[in-house]
Amino acid sequence: MKNFLHSPGRYLLPALVCGLPLASGAAPLDGAFTRAAVTRPQPTQTVTGRVTDDKDEGLPGVTVRVKNGTAGATTNANGEFSLDVPEGTTLVFSSVGFATKEVAVSGQTSLSVSLATDSQQLSEAVVVGYLTQERQNVTGSVATIGAQEVRRAPVATVSEAIQGRLAGVQVTTNGEPGQTPNINIRGIGSLNSGSGPLFIIDGLWVTGGLRDFTPQDVQSVQVLKDAASLAPYGASGANGVVIITTKKGRSGTTVVNFNAYAGVQNIAKRLNLANAAEYRALATQAYTNAGTAVPSGIATPSGVDTDWQKEFFKTGVIQDYNLGFSGGGTNSNFLISADYFSQGGTVVGPSYERYNLRVNSGFTQGKLRIGENLSLTRANQVRLNGVPFIDLVRLTPITPVYDPANPGGFGYGDSNNRPTFGSNVIGAQSLTNNTGVNNQLQGNIFGEFSFLPSLRYRLNLGTQFRAFHDQVRQKAGGLAPNNITPVSGLTDAQGNETFLLAENTLTFDHSFGLNNVTVVGGYSEQSTRFEFTRAAAQGYGNGPAFYWAIDAGATPLPGAGSTFNRNKRSYFGQFTYDYDGRYLLTGAYRRDYSSAFSPDNQYGDFGAGSVGWRVSKEKFFAGITAISDLKLRASYGVLGNDQLNGAYGGSYLYQAFINPSVNYNFGGVVVNGATQTAQSSPTVGWEERATQNYGLDIGFLQNRLTVSADYYVSVTRNANVNPQIPLSVSNAGGDPFQRIGRIQNKGFEMLVGWNDTKGKFTYGITGNLTTIKNTVLDAGASASGRPNLFDAGPNGATRTETGYEVGSFYLYQTNGIFQNTGEITGSAQPGAKPGDVRYVDVNGDGKIDASDRAHVGRVFPRIQYGVNLTAGYGGFDFAAFFQGVQGNSVYNSVAYWLGRGDDPVNYLAGLSPWSPTNPSTTTPRLALQGGQNTIGNSTRYLEDGSYLRLKNLQIGYTVPKTLVSNVPGVSSLRLYLTSQNLFTATKYSGYDPETIGGLGGSLLTRGVDEGNYPNSRTFTIGAQLGF
């Protein structure tokens, strides 16, 4: 496989990042985009043939070219080609996702060529900043995944689809329809929520996730992880970059594809909760032990016995339909793709649906190339209301789902007679209808002009326009005894966000003998404008007909609205150099200006360099046949991050503002008040993340076995962190940022692949493994000299401070149960009673208090891994993907609510609390009172979060051509069955060990399951039709 393309670097199109049809590096699409006019040799022979995959299906769009020459063609929809070639030549067949193959013509006029699937990823094009390199020349750390794997999962987003498949990329997600998964690359380098990666779709920069982007449009996903790869993105590269290339049309006959899948989803797990009789028995114990009266609703059976889980959980339908047309002429290509996706939700209430339309096209005219990528999306979401996965255990079985006596008609606790503070989960979804509509345009257009064969200018203009419309329709009614006023109301919010990108680059690439050089210089501007307006009114009556318009509300409420701008300007340069593909060198530099910082802190300088040595190209290596490829590489660089959260998108944090709406009333008349209510963050500026990376790539046995390994150490300096400040500093809203933090992430990543073919049987196994060690090196100190710390999570279960992980658990240590008064006497808990929880007196001062908390457990898994097994035999294909994490802890809030003891909640069925006759060593006595049994931030609720999940299982069958051809118009048909999250092996007692970090995905509560929506188990059936 060495040197599979003639003269790498020379013919390889050092493409700019944007809009370039995929694979212009490894497999330039000749007809469309060959830049240099080359004199064709005289034809001496016409070769025709057909290129097929391992299932004997014709492969369209395969590039066929003469080795060491320039003539070439592309296969048509049936995989056929025709080409005039010199005699005795060798043809090179290449196509993305397949191993490139060379075939000697040797006088044949008709060739039948079969290409093997390539999952080794050694031979693909890799987009690195404003350049495209062959994988073999890449000296950074880049992970890649192809369309086939991305589209295997029946999920809404690309992030979910790649979960577990890429070393060093951590994706956490939950089951809520319309959610945006968390994605972190190489740990967490920041303490503010701007720790997600930058996404680049065909050259368009996108932050904030890709919820409304359909995975069906993906051709490949690439993740850049080390400083050298990321340096071209300096301003936004610190947290990694995910590059998504969408599908493009290929020259040849127009291809029509229709893909569809549909199936069902549900929540696989149920907690074993008490029914009414069991609940009443346990609750009576709790009141009696506390010496308080047993409320009448518990003392006397009412006949109500609600199974809240049964009422709330349901089976949801998931479906996706995709229709695509693609094709092109010799100088042009196009692709039109339409997609519909919907997800019905696994609980009462939420749902998500999405319509996508994509049009990608390009053409070449002489020295000019023009292309565009455009995607239109509409997404409709019905949001989940409240925190039902906690309420499910707070609601008692003696509480009815419906109660006509209550306003709104839903049952809830009565704080005196039928106590529970849980919110009626059914009512929450029924009384409140919280919807969001997104209309989005995403796209870019680029033009590239080659002044000289080695010099070209490119202009890339991109935009993302997103218009959103959120409505909350609130019917009057109560959900819990302590609810705020149940009034009907409508909140209607609309707004839009416009992102504009303009990039100018000038690229020079040339080979001087064996010296190959590419240099890019450029200038770019980015601007984001956000506009938002909200109106609200109350008084919509009690139905049954509701008129949900602001005009229809009896009481208008104050409106709200705002606008902000956030801009960036950048100058950058990038170069690559290699000598004979053996010695590799890259460098990049970038100066970025951000409007989010004060004029003193506005710009940052970032840069990186890397070196590589392809040992296997050395002469002395020629005799080593077992190792087919060996490359050593190293890189170092410093990148920036200007993402900040806060009011107005964090755009103006450095200034101190007056709050103009601190209103009061005198004599019943509202008067306007104004004052400063929030502290400013005058010192915010660029965070810098410095990363060292050392890696090697080895291929054995003609690259049937490939190993890629990386070790990195990354340190974020001058991080914008917002430690808690004393209450006496008077700040309403988020804590102000200070540029003081240092955070380290280091880890090891490995990817191993084995692929082989035995006759009709092909199989492959790919495994990846990631370790991350995250440490806050310095969180700074406050003005009073005390070290900064960040308490977060329920009951302050986590504390982030110098020397520990971000979001480290900081808990009281439990140590069994006091069995008798003898054990209590002389202990650190003299007030305890037998049956109470015993804690470790960590500091040995003879009492248990806040200073006995300690850092325990581990937020980041010691190991994350994924194992992908694929096999094929004839028309059958099979893929199983396992994914898991090992060695982390999860704080289980559901267990806390079940076990806290001082709040009237439901219990686990079969709970066997301590009593004099039942000397439990694990379950304390029940007593509905405060005291140390109720301490929430204790290790009682910290559980092992390790899990192994069969993330994806797929069995497919490609119907033989002979059968398919009986159906007019159909050229191919594959049917498949898929299951996502079929089973999860874990010791975790909650619904799902996978945590997104609290409810909103907060970094500081990363290991906390705060009532997370569990991931769904999905079964689907699908079909892929070609016409």
Binding site: S415, N417, G489, S594, I658, G667, P726, A732, S782, A783
Partner: protein, 542 residues
Amino acid sequence: MKFSKKTLLTGATASLLLATGCQKDLINQANPNLPTTATFWKTGDDAVRASNAAYAGLQAVGMYRRWFSFIYDGRDDIGWSQSPYTPLREITGFQQTDYNFEVSYSAYRDSYRTIDRCNQILANVPGIQMEAQLKNRVIGEAYFLRALTYFNLVSIFGNVPLATQPTTIDYRPAQGTEAQVWALVISDLQAAIGTGAALNLPASYPANSDRGRVTLGAARALLGKAYMQNKRWAEAQVQFALVIGAGVYSLPAFTDNFRHTSENNAESIFEVQFLDVNIGGPDGQGGVDANTAQGFQRPKFFGPPQNAGTANLGFTDCEVRPWVINEFLQEGTASGQRDPRLAATFFYNYRRFASPLPFSADSLVYDQSRPGSFAAGSYGFQTRYKGDNFNLGRTYWRKYQSDYYRGDENFDSPINFRVMRYADVLLLQAEALNEQNQPAAAVPFVNQVRQRAGLAVLPASASASQTAMRAQLRHERITELAGEGLRWFDLQRYGLLDTQTGVDELKGRDDQFKNFALNKSRLLPLPQQDVDLAGLKQNPGY
């Protein structure tokens, strides 16, 4: 389509210029939404708006909107809690274990937010070019509001930081002793009042839209109360005499003090204004905006429990110890009826309290449809809680409840909280005189309060000695002021929180005092957050 090289170059250059059109201020963006601290503080209007915002601080959940009622009325020997919200029940019973628990945490937090608003005024308004009288008033208001807030802070937490400057991230005011905080309260009130002829604050505000602003009387009354808490009786007497002598205040109907229909009236000295606007809006804890609700929440939290199948009443997180009912039943009115203040103060099950005095409509609970002629057994307490012995045996707060105008309770009560009213000042003046051993001089002030309630004038025996008068005044303050957040200050002033004898006496009335630890429980713990981050010394015993 053919392009000449020249065309293409021109096009490319044009695109370049277009794309890099270089908005000159691309990276220097002003916030289009808000004034900055540099652009504000320019006009008299800015000063008045800043003062409005300082008043708004008093509405915070941690202050008068909700938690002060628990801190004062829940902890004293009249109120107590059986709330199912365990930590809330425990904080009123001297058993707080979480020093960041929301009640004390937000009381402290919201007090400092209010103080900061005052400090911004005191730092910035003197430099504004504006009408002098208005400027002095705004500054006087800020001094008063700061003093009121420290008055509460020192009474709840004791040794708190003395913030007197607008805060920045790095501002770490020193922790004061209780004496230092009291000194600040007193000097702030003196500054609010002003000296000589140039008094800062008006005696009253003619314009309705200013009703509720700080008056001279309010500043003097609070100064007098500060002296009282420090047992500086003579100085207190001087201030109260000025309030009484101003001729501004009088005593209208007793129930007018707890209704939204008679706010800022002749008896009112200072009120925190509440209003039922922005119903269901945010409570302002995370930051205030135009949608922040302005309702009083005590009525919902203190209200009697709903019973099955009835509209929303209260959470009953704070209720009443029954002994206090008997305190009212000791003495009827001059015409032989029950003290009307009893029914105005509590809902209670009259069957449980033996008294020769005829009962009136005092056992009604939120019964808008009750007929003019009250018929026992058909309406009210007994009917509502029939069959529920637990609730029948309880006594509930009626002051500040909404039953006089609607059948339910919620977070949106428009009733102002009366921080200081004239009857309180009259009784304090009586106490100041009596503590200077002038029991006879105290009598006329007490009689004004008694006669408004329809009671006879004090018998001579009541003023026969300082001790007798002291006992009488304690009784008078209970019947007049129970549930108005004043009893806790009385207990402090009477010294009952400082000796085991005193605590034992309180325990006899309120069993919660069994958990009261001397030298500890008279203060709440400082929030752990500020102990950790500002290096505060935690209060003794915690």
